[in-house]
């Protein structure tokens, strides 16, 4: 069977296309790695916590509707392990990719501020938006974060 000219052209174009696609993937991976490297430097820098100060007043003033729910922090801990621990560390102590959440700068802000940052992310610095989690689940994570012992303080 002799292949048609069209089929040969298609094969050639497909080969070229696949090569382009491979190049795109190869370019994208180091780019992400570089972004994470930038984040590594930023974790050593207090300026990353400055994002917390950008929360609007209305968001800062929001109260956690689950603050009296005794299960909220436990459920939040489960969600934290699923979605946050990969970057922030199993105990929220921070990692190469994201800052500690036990830091005083985080622990002193209002639950509303934490909820705001969780909802909006810090896209420019690599933290994705988490509004895909329903509001109650985000508040559960906030409850968990607020239940942690801040760095430098001994547990009650």
């Amino acid at each position: 069977m002799i292949p048609t000219t069209a089929a040969t052209k298609f094969k050639t174009k497909m080969r070229v296309g696949l090569q382009y696609a491979s190049i795109l993937v190869i370019v994208a991976i180091p780019l992400a790695a570089r972004q994470k490297e930038d984040c590594t430097h930023e974790t050593k820098n207090d300026s990353i916590y400055a994002e917390l100060e950008k929360a609007p007043k209305k968001a800062v003033a929001r109260r956690n509707p689950l603050e009296k729910d005794p299960d909220a922090a436990v459920a939040g801990g489960k969600l934290f392990v699923l979605h946050c621990a990969e970057c922030h560390g199993d105990m929220a102590e921070g990692g190469r990719r994201a800052p500690s959440l036990l830091a005083e700068q985080v622990q002193r802000v209002t639950p509303g501020t934490l909820f705001w940052i969780l909802t909006n992310g810090v896209v420019r610095r690599g933290m994705p938006v988490w509004s895909k989690l329903p509001e109650p689940q985000r508040w559960q994570i906030v409850s968990y974060l607020k239940s942690l012992t801040p760095a430098g303080k001994s547990p009650q």
Binding site: M14, G17, A32, K78, G121, R124, P134, Q137
Partner: protein, 314 residues
């Protein structure tokens, strides 16, 4: 699709060329290797199969997805189309994806039908009531492609009745752009996608299509224990999609339209399963499309690759 293919002489089916077999094998092996890697994984996926919401892949994460579409076909043989997606979060605002498509038509043959390369860019830094994402895709597929990932222009059921030996001779190079708009409130997600596609081969006009979807978590609060069948692991919804004609004849005339309930089961073991029975809404549409998919997300894939290739270690 080109109806003149009906009149062409049907050439015999040749076995897949070696380079194509190698590609298929490498994709399969890569999938297995990824599944076996001890990378941490997490699953929190939307149930949509056709519609996109505004959520991108987490930076450095790779999601490997396999989807399948069973379609009934009047005037031809039913088919099972399938595709594999490799979705990578390059940054928090850019996700890039590579698709490989194939299909089996009953009593006909099985074919590799092409590939797609897509990119999604988040346009705004923060969450808003409506969140726009720009989608750009290049695809190189044959006329035998039946994954129906999007329906556009005057795509109708009869286009898919053509035997594979003929359909595979049509080669499409398409540039596809979409504006994805999506809102999330009170556990609901509403997503609207508008599609504009240009087939770069020949003087084909711009074709248009749409997809809209609504979904909601079955439980908004998480339970305290790890569980598989908790309602918090399920997201259910419905999506509707179809063609809107082309530049010369915009509208619903001679287009196909579908509605499809969707459900996603996000397992704590980091797998996501999706199921969606779809129904054609007019005579131009396939009567029934059953779609299902399985996916797994590998977080830290970018870093693992960096380590593998001797990148900087702190």
């Amino acid at each position: 699709m080109n109806s003149t293919r009906f009149h062409e002489q049907s050439p015999p089916i040749r076995p897949l060329p070696r380079w194509r077999r190698d590609w298929c094998l490498s994709i399969f092996v890569s999938g297995l290797v990824l599944a076996g890697l001890s990378l941490p994984a997490r699953a929190q996926e939307s149930p949509y199969i056709v519609t996109y919401d505004h959520y991108l892949e987490e930076p450095g994460s790779l999601e490997v997805e396999y989807f399948s579409t069973f379609g009934t076909q009047r005037g031809g043989n039913d088919f099972l189309a399938f595709w594999t997606e490799f979705e990578y979060g390059a940054t928090a605002w850019w996700t890039t994806e590579l698709y490989f498509d194939g299909q089996s038509t009953f009593d006909d043959s099985t074919l590799f039908t092409g590939f797609r390369c897509e990119n999604r860019f988040r346009l705004l830094q923060r969450e808003h009531f409506i969140n726009p994402v720009l989608y750009v895709e290049y695809e190189q597929t044959s006329g035998a492609d039946k994954i129906l990932k999007e329906v556009e222009g005057h795509d109708v059921e009869a286009d898919y009745a053509i035997p594979n030996a003929l359909a595979r001779n049509e080669h499409d190079h398409e540039l596809e752009s979409k504006l994805l708009l999506s809102s999330t409130f009170k556990g609901w997600n509403i997503a609207e996608n508008t599609i504009a596609t240009k087939n770069l081969t020949g003087g084909n006009p711009w074709e248009f299509g749409y997809a809209i979807g609504a979904s909601r978590w079955l439980a908004l609060k998480a339970t305290t224990n790890r569980c598989n069948l908790c309602r918090e692991n399920f997201i259910a919804g419905v999506e509707m999609y179809g063609g809107l004609g082309d530049r010369h004849s915009f509208g619903l005339r001679d287009t196909s339209q579908y509605v499809a309930p969707v459900i996603a089961w996000n397992l704590p073991s980091d797998w996501t399963l999706r199921l969606s029975p779809g129904f054609g809404l007019n005579d131009n549409s396939h009567g029934f499309l059953l779609r299902w998919g399985v996916s797994r997300e590998f977080s830290g894939f970018g870093e693992a690759m960096k380590r593998l290739f001797g990148g900087h270690q702190p």
